[in-house]
């Protein structure tokens, strides 16, 4: 019986530690063919696949801008969503946004689509806009600032604070100096609401 316990414990620990493996295996690197998603999730702490799978036409149609004058190059870039947070559960969204905050360098340049609550704030004479996501207990919140691709006027062209929005934009960061200290901020550039 003691042997059985030791074998059971060893097996359990081996299996659980094996789950921490790196992305080296080909199984993890590829998106399952049966998956409905053409969008591979970003793996912040692991190797990001260099090529993003081409989305199916019927799914990209959802992301087509309705009445925007986004330059063709930007429009093309926004048609492919690298990180689609709208397809994840609230717990997953919160965790993924946390990962984006923790390791932003893994996400820079990627197109992010997220759904959350609209928030806005005046900061140093500049009006900032953000999309806020909450965790399952609704006590913790993570948000991402976004800059609209178009020149919109607040409050006429924006929703009410607290309203639900879906934003697509390119993930980027910028540095700002405050009292001799440098702060890094994360932002979705060339964003548009869908």
């Amino acid at each position: 019986m003691k042997k059985a316990i030791i074998i059971l414990l060893a097996l359990t620990m081996f299996l659980s530690l094996a789950a921490c493996g790196s992305s080296g295996s080909p199984k993890e690197a590829s998106v399952p063919a049966a998956s409905p998603s053409p969008i591979a999730p970003i793996q912040p702490s692991e190797t990001i696949p260099s090529a993003t799978p081409e989305p199916k036409p019927e799914e990209t149609a959802v992301l087509e801008p309705v009445q925007t004058e986004v330059p063709t190059q930007e429009k093309k870039a926004q048609d492919t969503v690298d990180v689609d947070l709208t397809r994840l559960s609230s717990t997953m969204v919160y965790s993924e946004v946390y990962a984006m905050m923790y390791e932003p360098e893994q996400y820079i340049g990627k197109t992010v689509k997220m759904h959350g609550l609209f928030a806005t704030q005046e900061y140093n004479g500049t009006r900032l806009y953000a999309c806020i996501v909450q965790d399952a207990t609704a006590c913790c919140a993570q948000g991402l600032e976004f800059e609209m691709a178009e020149d919109l006027v607040y409050p006429d062209d924006y929703p009410e604070p607290g309203a639900e929005i879906t934003v697509v934009g390119t993930f980027d960061s910028y540095k700002e100096e405050v009292d001799g200290n440098y702060y890094i901020y994360l932002v979705l550039r060339n964003a548009r609401m869908v």
């Binding site: 059971l8 414990l9 359990t12 912040p44 913790c140």
Partner: protein
């Protein structure tokens, strides 16, 4: 069903989901092993008290802006565990009163420190996350995963190595002492292991729900099995199953991780109670 499997396949590609499942298995294994000992020694509430101490220590870590507060939390919790378990019958403040005093004291001081020094702009979020473990397990860094794995291996190794002594101290401490077993030393080892488990389990279910992770699998197993060994093995299997199922349900349904795991533990407790009644098992 296919949609759920496809969703799981998608989520599996996220490293933090794999880390959560791996750490969840390790923590639940550790907590269940010592859970049987704690329940039988009537120490169930010590886990709760120590988890509040760990919360207070975590608050100190936040105020000090420590990027990795686990070593500090571990040290304070171990010291408190030793203090609690070493206070004998001659102590001025005994047993449950000492546990209650340290428990609520640490909780209050922890919250006070966080409130006064405001480590982040989202105080209620930080407190809520620490107390209920809403998504802590899904936001672990690689360093934290490695530390959890190393501590879990140590805990399991210590349990296997000292299994017979722990068994003796658990069932009859006086008899064990009479036969030459150094009960104080083994109680000290048990205290250290409990503290390590508490600190690890805070990541999984939060400090308010740790006791559930420690006692439910043990109590469920006691409904059906009779011997210490079979209860321990069953408790370990149940605990791992509940944690895995709880994490999977929470990421699929978007529910808080800690409370979902405990809810699964509760359901399984009633299932095992019913099963135990039917087959006439031992009711601890």
């Amino acid at each position: 069903m296919t949609a759920i499997l496809e969703k799981l396949a998608l989520y599996w590609q996220y490293p933090f989901v794999r880390y959560a499942l791996a750490v969840g298995v390790l923590i639940s294994l550790c907590s269940s092993l010592l859970g049987v000992t704690l329940v039988l020694k009537r120490f169930s509430f010590i886990g709760d008290g120590l988890s509040h101490v760990a919360f207070g220590a975590m608050a100190i870590g936040s105020v000090l802006h420590l990027t990795n507060d686990m070593p500090l939390v571990l040290l304070i919790t171990i010291l408190s565990a030793i203090l609690l378990l070493s206070t004998g019958q001659n102590a001025k403040i005994k047993g449950d009163a000492a546990v209650a005093m340290i428990s609520v004291g640490a909780l209050a001081i922890g919250y006070l420190l966080m409130n006064l020094f405001t480590p982040s702009g989202n105080l209620s979020g930080d407190v809520c996350s620490t107390l209920f473990g809403s998504t802590s397990i899904l936001t672990l860094t690689k360093t934290e995963v490695r530390l959890c794995a190393a501590l879990s291996v140590l805990v399991v190794a210590a349990f296997v190595f000292f299994y017979h002594k722990v068994f003796a101290v658990t069932f009859d401490e006086s008899f064990a002492a009479a036969t030459g077993v150094k009960t104080k030393v083994y109680n000290f080892i048990i205290a250290v292991i409990i503290a390590v488990i508490i600190v690890l389990a805070m990541n999984l279910v939060g400090s308010l729900l740790i006791s559930a992770l420690v006692i439910f699998p043990a109590l469920s197993a006691m409904r059906v099995f009779k011997s210490f060994r079979s209860v321990t093995v069953c408790s370990a299997i149940l605990s791992i199953f509940c944690s895995l199922l709880g994490i999977l349900i929470s990421i699929l349904a978007g529910t808080p991780v800690g409370s979902t795991i405990v809810a699964v533990d509760i359901v399984l407790f009633f299932v095992f109670s019913a099963f135990g009644t039917i087959i006439g098992g031992v009711h601890a």
